[in-house]
Symmetry: C2
Subunit: 510 residues, 2 copies
């Protein structure tokens, strides 16, 4: 046997995402310009709302092409009034993959902490231009950086750095990148995305100036922010061996019972006690004395113990029925709308809430294929690509819509919002939510609930239509009947039938 | 303004994939056991076929649960006769993310080089048990390692190492992992996957022993291997600024014309010359003297220059019409089958070939929803999850099937195989192919081609049915007519009409 040698190679995370940028949503110039805007806008929202700041976001995309060869090149600026990033962290936060402030158990829009860096990388490999970042946390200094990514080493390259005095205590971040793109093709998706973002974030001011100078303005319609999502502890049902190892390594607790009570979500003294009894571990055992196989046993026991309370949803920040309804009414001006918020649920220890709306008539669009229009949101971000691979679409297709009086081709929209500390994304590009049975169950029941209300509305409408038709028959023949009867009775004056018709109408209206 | 501090953190690639294992196909115990088998089998195929070895792959999944708490735990062994991995590379190749032999421009099944490591990581975090790897390249030694992954540092931990003499010059790899799984739920997908793998790799022997001891045996039906895919150079249309920088840094060439001719796919002296003239660069310029902005200009000119030859497909290894047809016939035993191989095409400088088959009747299944059954393959691997998000499904749904005589609920299957040096995956889990216009175009034309053949078959069949009906009417009335005519003519003997009927049948059969 001839020995065949293969070349082995280690690549950096930046290099991995550079080689596989399709998986992060940068698959072609049209998708890339969409994804760049989306990632930067989501970073801006994550830097404002969760910290109690009403978001002001300004986006400008301008063409930098000045000849035919350079067609399709843009400059993108996104500016926000967020909490800013400390000067010393700016280069790494923007130009290093897998460096982020987002690795926490809290509901946020971005979760992988690589979207912004991916946009910068894409700009760099298509234009070779650096990113410009200006930021301040509201302290004495404003920092301005010119940065590139050393892709092979996954490190920032600092090309320039300036500081300014911040007398007005401005806080926020401005990011400016150059990139190849295809705005004409991306435009409908970008506008859809911003519109829907405005629906789900009605407390935000969003301004977008497009390459032709058109201004899209989405003004804040309310100035109260939703309750801030709290950081949470891991729930015992969602913990695996690796997490348990890390927790044991890091804890200061000296006994297992203290350890459980302190580091786990919704585990009190009493629950910890009955769990340890169930699992067969002494309460006063030192967590650091656990042997590897004991850790495995502890984790397995946690999964099968039924005495834990379900995760609570105080760490979540749903839209609420009021905001959801207002957003739908504002955007679709429907003839009928119903919304519902499902009770909090959990999958693998991660809490989530599903909110569902249904809208009929008015400006609700009718799809060419006759299907129902679906608007999907996850942690308040709209998902506008890859609908058919999403759990919500699967649920919609599984429903026997005729039972709810729905026929193909009706102007009908379903709105689904899922919020969670951990949205089960199928892709790094955050376009599709995976089909976890707990989640599809909640979506299904949510849709059924609003669909029943729609059915009631439609059948009332249908009935009213029938009655109207019946009455118009009445109204048509009653004068004739009255006339004949008058003649037959040898009377001269035809009785007034208006009162009669009114009475019939009232009776029917009951 | 209160300054809010955020905690920034760098995580390792191993930690990233640990936290986001859903994106790599390890979202729940059922999917995980499927993905673990799939990733290891694909590594085995990649270690055999491309190196001229007829694959022998043995898979065993056994339950390790011996009580109720431990339900759903398995041991998985995958053994192959591949080229093996040199001893010094084993720990890194298996237990370090982004370390691989697969970062090359060549058609291969695995492309991210992280599937096997992901399976090992999943096993580790669910069972805390090490992976056992035995491998030899066929030289004097066989190596056996017990390994775990240091997830926070992305490094292998060597728990044990042995070497054996390899007197029989055995080569291959054995991987054994422990993992949590749900075989009963995963079984249909696993069996489908292996069946379809056998269709696309008929030169492989694949044996699978499942936890209940059932043996699934897919025996090789041919012993000639397809031509080995060659490694290729980048095509000028697919090169970005970063790649160009790297090439310039690495080249030994002293002039631009040499540089272009040596390092690019299908660029000869003449093409290089006319391109440089088009782009406005001197032929004898030293590539290392290119300034950053000149590199950008060079790359842009490469995109817009129309004089490059399209990528050639010698680096691809399609199935071929014969193998494709044989596989379909073997598996579906259809009444009708047609296959086609499209001409090589390219997207962003990556060559690809689409092969399409259509099968009707026989054992072709009928779907509950009346839709067409779709079998998808990419680089000879079957894709069995997330059909609705795939480009092929999108194309199928866009076709007006009635034009081809196809009605909902027919036993009809479409088979699509895409091979490329770079399959545009949507996800790290390699389940869906992205909708690149060049690819969907080839799929559409391929399907139309075979659908036309099906239409011809179906209309012939329909016609034959009609004729049969017509003839049976003839056959029914002709004797009566003959009888009457005989009587009318005053004759006694009714003429023999069998010859007449036979002649009509012959005429109709033309």
């Amino acid at each position: 046997m001839r020995v065949i040698s293969q070349a082995f190679q280690e690549i950096s995370p930046a290099d991995f995402f550079y080689r596989n940028r399709e998986i992060a949503g940068f698959s072609n110039p049209s998708k890339a310009v969409f994804s760049a805007i989306r990632e930067l806008v989501e970073n801006s929202l994550d830097a404002t709302e969760p910290f109690g700041i009403l978001p002001d976001i300004y986006i400008r995309l301008s063409s930098t092409s000045n000849n035919e060869v350079e067609e399709g090149f843009y400059s993108l600026i996104v500016e926000d009034n967020g909490i800013g990033i400390p000067g010393e962290h700016i280069p790494h936060a923007f130009c290093q993959f897998l460096f982020s402030s987002k690795y926490r158990l809290r509901q946020s829009r971005g979760t992988f902490g690589l979207g912004g860096t991916m946009a910068i990388l894409y700009g760099q490999v298509t234009t070779n231009k650096p990113v410009r970042v200006v930021s301040s946390t509201g302290d004495q200094k404003i920092y301005e950086f010119l940065l590139m990514i050393d892709i092979e080493r996954n490190r920032p390259i600092i090309l320039g750095k300036k500081t300014y005095n911040n007398d007005e205590q401005w806080h926020g971040t401005i990011v400016e990148i150059s990139l190849e793109g295809d705005y004409p093709r991306a435009k409908p998706k970008i506008v859809d995305y911003l519109k829907q973002t405005a629906i789900a974030n009605p407390y935000a001011n969003i301004m977008f100036v497009d390459p032709r100078g058109r201004l899209y303005k989405f003004e804040r319609t309310m100035s109260t922010l939703p309750p801030q999502p709290k950081e949470t502890l891991p729930h015992p049902h969602g913990v695996d061996v690796e997490t348990m190892h890390r927790m044991v390594r890091a804890t200061q607790c000296k006994t297992l019972i203290d350890f459980l009570e302190k580091h786990f979500h919704r585990v009190g003294r009493q629950t910890a006690r009955s769990f340890l009894e169930f699992a067969g571990f002494p309460e006063d055992m030192d967590p650091k004395a656990l042997k590897p196989e004991e850790i495995v046993r502890l984790v397995q026991a946690m999964r099968s113990f039924n005495g834990f309370l379900p995760p609570d949803a105080s760490c979540l920040s749903p839209l609420g029925e009021e905001i959801l309804k207002a957003g739908i009414v504002k955007e679709l001006e429907p003839e009928f709308v119903a919304v519902t918020q499902r009770k909090p649920s959990a999958y693998s220890g991660h809490p989530f809430i599903v909110e569902v709306g249904i809208a009929y008539g008015g400006k609700v669009p009718v799809r060419d294929d006759g299907d129902i229009t679906l608007y999907r949101f996850a942690n308040k971000i709209p998902l506008v690509y890859d609908e058919s691979g999403d759990v919500s679409w699967k649920v919609i297709k599984s429903i026997e819509w005729r039972r709810y009086g729905v026929e193909p081709g009706m102007p009908l929209a379903v709105i689904v919002h899922i919020c969670s500390t951990k949205v089960p994304w199928k892709t790094v590009g955050k376009e599709m939510i995976a089909d976890r049975p707990e989640i599809s169950h909640e979506i299904l029941y949510g849709i059924r609930e609003v669909a029943r209300k729609l059915k009631l509305y439609l059948s009332r409408k249908e009935k009213a239509k029938h009655e109207k038709a019946r009455l118009s028959v009445f109204a048509k023949y009653l004068p004739k009947i009255a006339e004949f009867s008058t003649k037959l009775a040898g009377e001269k004056n035809v009785p007034d039938i208006k009162g009669l018709l009114r009475r019939v109408r009232r009776l029917e209206g009951d």
